[in-house]
Subunit: 515 residues, 2 copies
Amino acid sequence: MTGAECLLRTLLKNGVNICFMNPGTSEMQFVAALDRVSGMRPVLGLFEGVCSGAADGYARMTRKPAATLLHLGPGLGNALANFHNARKARSPVVNIVGDHATAHQKFDAPLSADVPAFARTISDSVRVVGSSAEMGALATQTVEAAMGPPGQIATLIVPADFSWSEAGEEGDWAWPLKRARASDRDIEEAALLLRKLGPEAGVLMGGQTMVDAGLTAAERITKGSGARLFYDRNTSRAALGGGRFEPQRVAYFPEKAEAQFHGLQHVVLIEAKAPVSFFAYPGRKSTLLPDDCAVTVLAGVDGDGLYALEVLADHFPAPEPSGGPRDRTHSIYGREVLTTESLGRAIAFHLPEDAIVSDEMVSSSEAVVPLLGCGRRLDFLPVTGGSIGQGLPLALGAAVACPDRKVVALEADGSGMYTLQALWTMARENLNVTVVIFSNRRYRILDVEMRRTGAGDLGPLANDMLEVGRPDLNWVKLAEGAGVEATRATTPREFVDQFTSALQASGPRLVEAVL
Amino acid sequence: MTGAECLLRTLLKNGVNICFMNPGTSEMQFVAALDRVSGMRPVLGLFEGVCSGAADGYARMTRKPAATLLHLGPGLGNALANFHNARKARSPVVNIVGDHATAHQKFDAPLSADVPAFARTISDSVRVVGSSAEMGALATQTVEAAMGPPGQIATLIVPADFSWSEAGEEGDWAWPLKRARASDRDIEEAALLLRKLGPEAGVLMGGQTMVDAGLTAAERITKGSGARLFYDRNTSRAALGGGRFEPQRVAYFPEKAEAQFHGLQHVVLIEAKAPVSFFAYPGRKSTLLPDDCAVTVLAGVDGDGLYALEVLADHFPAPEPSGGPRDRTHSIYGREVLTTESLGRAIAFHLPEDAIVSDEMVSSSEAVVPLLGCGRRLDFLPVTGGSIGQGLPLALGAAVACPDRKVVALEADGSGMYTLQALWTMARENLNVTVVIFSNRRYRILDVEMRRTGAGDLGPLANDMLEVGRPDLNWVKLAEGAGVEATRATTPREFVDQFTSALQASGPRLVEAVL
């Protein structure tokens, strides 16, 4: 058994059976082994950021790691931005990176680079295979590290010679740690606190808690105590819609978030950290809670937040059933003008039950996301680390994870350009993804940020740097060029027709909504 | 004067007047200052790898640094692959990266990352601004560092608050070091050596020596001594064609390179390092020179290789004039089938005088590059660091540097996909770039590498990972989607018509040549 086969067998033994890859020469042994060791599904990306983003999307939906296979330092470099997001999502990923054969490393060949240094920028742990004999053990350790808790980017660097030479046994089962649970006493104290402070207390949920059971518990807590319930805007996945209870999402801009938190004396954190502003601005502080607000961590980011929420909820009476799903969306079919808001309404109205929504609308997000919660059941996947270029790869990975669900990528035109190569993989794998491009020909969010940083008026040169136009991108052609059928909508009627038709199709479709 | 204005003024004072950028919130002060401090030309890329590759292309043609402006760790992450190539090209680049305001950095906001760690992967020096008062001095030091010798990736990390707060004076002039020159005695010894050994001696040129004066000297040396002249295949820029003397380019695969070097007893290095194999393969050594071959460094990578070559050449008689430019190319107009070879011939035949050729043909390169040397004068820009995704951005940067010359990007379909966003910037800046896509729907080089690494036969899964098809990319649509006019050629006649028409156009054009 070669090192590559040993690695592959160890991954498969531990349930890692999807590999998003963009391999090169150093990874050829691993690629060749795919046909000799059965069970691994390889998914090719034509750019490495597609692979890291897809692994993130896969992990957010399955709560288990996919593998990525990347080519030396620069190949890993291309994947870093989406690994950054994956790390902030606490997504487990087994990141395999080839390196030059050990004897070759001292020669500073063209592709030589400090692969561990690239890896450390976004990895929670980095292992370098030092002999083919230890391949199996290190692969097991890497899977174990990836599984956390919380989920981690665990990188395994594999010099080419250890892939092609004879290895020992395959590695063992990985035994990840269990998530820590809050004590009964701590939960009881939190219950007393919430009951005492009522609306002057808050609970901030994050991590893996925004699921059915967590929302049921959250509703019981707020109804029983009067405390205000919030969720981290950068949580990896949030169940919304279908009439389920919806905690307030922490706003992007600090004034709005401060208004949400106004009057709080104490906040209980559940798999969330004390909220801070996304960026700093002149004359504003970074923290968002009131200065005198106390904080209690009931479940850390590696803790079992769902357990904490459910036991906490048991301290309060079960609320009356809320009377079935509400659906407060409505069609925009007869309207005249396509705006961010009408587009959001159309999407919320027409999304099928149990859709998965990848959100990278950036400046459009604050207007659209609240509408999504008014519609049918869905899982919402935001940009967790603020690095754009996540939306399309994340949708790809989610669609690989959940082939029976419809994935909808809500994507800005500026952010979509970073990793548009994902469209090709969606076509190749015939994935159930509908992409909507919010085409405003602008890095619109920077218009706002420019004012906020006090940089002054926008002169012509500065204006030009914020414009994603001149020439306008044609997303229909970009998509078709990558093998994805696409249409362009300029009116609400066109959009609704195209969007509903795209949702009914099998395989990927793209609708460019021109705003 | 704000810190951002101070930075801008210091760059301009030192002749850094082009900035390839993809800014975000932390860089808004710099962007706003573009309209208050005149002289900087900002060029927007819709992906950061476009910016780093463009800065490399600009530096290779001008021998001076452009600036890049990037957004925090992940934005820099996207630029690393092409910085890797720029570093191996020894291109000077002033890389400016924004970071969170200092007071904000401790809060682990979503975009927080270890920016210096990202920077160190590809930078020769990293400076972090510690106060707005030191902005000018650090900017000067960064320019100085970038200029080397040899050229370096010099990174300046700028926390946002030091951009928006009041700064001191602008920085001084940068005073880069001079390149070291070989002593008369060392050159004389080298001359004696070459004369004595004749064809058993070699001279390997690299760095900045592959220019008119270097080639004239090289011809005199080989004709006068009988020594064999070579050039580094990863040299940043090589003047070819127009009947000029052409040293042998070191081959990609080690057997061929070893055959080129067979019988050498001594090699003189001029801004080059002892050649090594690109990758290691089972049972092959990494070095390429004969084991007993001695090596003399007459100019290191930071040395003045042109001086060494010219003084060395003076030890030999001036050769007879070679009788005007040779042109050994010929039209392929009447041929039936478009192949890599016929495509190469057509390109070599029709390239205009003094074209700049960006080569990222990958598997097609070995067949095409020798043909280029048979045609008119051109400057050839290869992939220096082996990281693909360089070709289009490099062409972009070269076109910004040399607006009066025609730039031709010879690009494989697989490698073109990594940074196709460069097409949009070519359209926006109306750059004189003709892109030819060698469309073989395959990571063809990996077919070869797969065999070489001994990985065995290609099973169906492995085969799939090497195929850039299913669906086929449509480069005409991809280009048009990014605002670049494009056509597809499937026969020699179509290709010649489209290529010559594209060359005559002002602004960018793309021709997809289907192989």
